[in-house]
């Protein structure tokens, strides 16, 4: 029997409920980002001022994390050689979802000053999905902080969906990785 005192509770569809929970999750997630810093490039020198008292990224709720499995954001700071790209793919696939990538500097965009090198890749987003770039060679710290705020607004607007693209286009990414690397698996005398 329907109550005459209270208006009936509207039943939301499952998609609607999911969407609301994702919005709540995104709110907390974007205000508490744990970053994994892959600092093999020279842009990594911009992270110490961004993390310490000069720009203090902790006021944005960001902090460093030691392991890929507990991190949300992967910062790829600069050029990647074939050798480090293999390790980046390992690292990225270990991270738990949702996961985001920020590419630093012109090397991750188009190769930068290493565009004609025989070991440095030219476009990072051919191999793993990049959510936002920070341009510059190297970008100054204001640009780095701005890039983090960009990432937060992308998460808010549901545009930071690189991890979904990676799952949907997994064959395409894998094909690009194999084309450039030959084999993603690491074989060297120290791991055998």
């Amino acid at each position: 029997m329907e109550s005459t005192k209270f208006s009936p509770i509207t039943k939301l569809s499952k998609e609607e409920v999911d969407r609301k929970w994702w919005e709540i999750g995104d709110f907390f997630r974007r205000n508490s980002l744990w970053m994994l810093m892959y600092c093999t490039g020279c842009c990594a020198i911009e992270l110490p001022p961004a993390m310490t008292s000069a720009y203090d990224m902790e006021r944005l709720g960001m902090g460093p994390m030691a392991t890929p499995r507990q991190a949300d954001v992967l910062l790829v700071t600069g050029y990647l050689s074939l050798k480090t790209l293999r390790r980046v793919i390992y690292t990225y696939e270990q991270m738990s979802e949702p996961k985001y990538i920020v590419g630093f500097g012109s090397c991750t965009i188009n190769g930068g000053i290493y565009h004609d090198s025989h070991v440095v890749i030219n476009q990072l987003d051919q191999y793993i999905p990049v959510d936002t770039y920070v341009a510059g060679c190297m970008p100054n710290t204001e640009a780095v902080m701005n890039g983090f705020i960009d990432l937060m607004s992308l998460i808010k607007n549901k545009k930071a969906d690189g991890w979904k693209r990676y799952k949907e286009n997994y064959e395409w990414y894998k094909k690009n990785q194999i084309d450039s690397l030959g084999e993603v698996q690491v074989h060297d005398e120290y791991h055998q």
């Binding site: 050798k83 190769g111 030219n122 084309d179 450039s180 074989h187 005398e189």
Partner: protein, 196 residues
Amino acid sequence: MTNTINNVEFVRNLVEDNYKVNKTEVIDQYQVSFEVEKEEVHRLLAQLRSEGWIQMSYLSAIDWIADNEFELVYIVFNWEKPVYIQVRTRLDRDNPVMESIMPIHPGCKYYEREAHEYFGIEFPGNPDFHKPLILEDWDDMPPLRKDFDPRAYSDAHFSSREYPETHENTLGQESKVAQRESRMARVFKVGKGGKK
């Protein structure tokens, strides 16, 4: 405190009296370079080691493509008499083989592997010289040879970003050229624009 000028003289006497030196170069009071024949390198390095040049600082190669030769540079250092000695030797570029110096300086193993990987020089006597060290799954000629074209390799293996030829002003801002020119005209009317 040892006298550094005498150290250089000491090294020159030691080497030039006992070996056939093609070229000697005294770079400064701490560095001397000797170019010797390929066969004499081992005897020279062994004698220098017994005289106190115990530290194998570096081994590198240079590709002299016009002469069709590789040049090997061994750099040894003495902590008692502070002189770096560069021992240089030339190898045939078509068949670059050099006996390993691991019996004299065992730490040279990784330098020899690096030289093999980047220049294709073979070091019999070093058990691992053919193993890859830095490059992984390399499928082309050794990359630091002068006839290797890194740009062609990069174009063949890595896609590069394509940019549109035309650019559009998405924000609808007006051109600042006229503004800048009028500002410069005003500057030159008032003064000399900063020039003397």
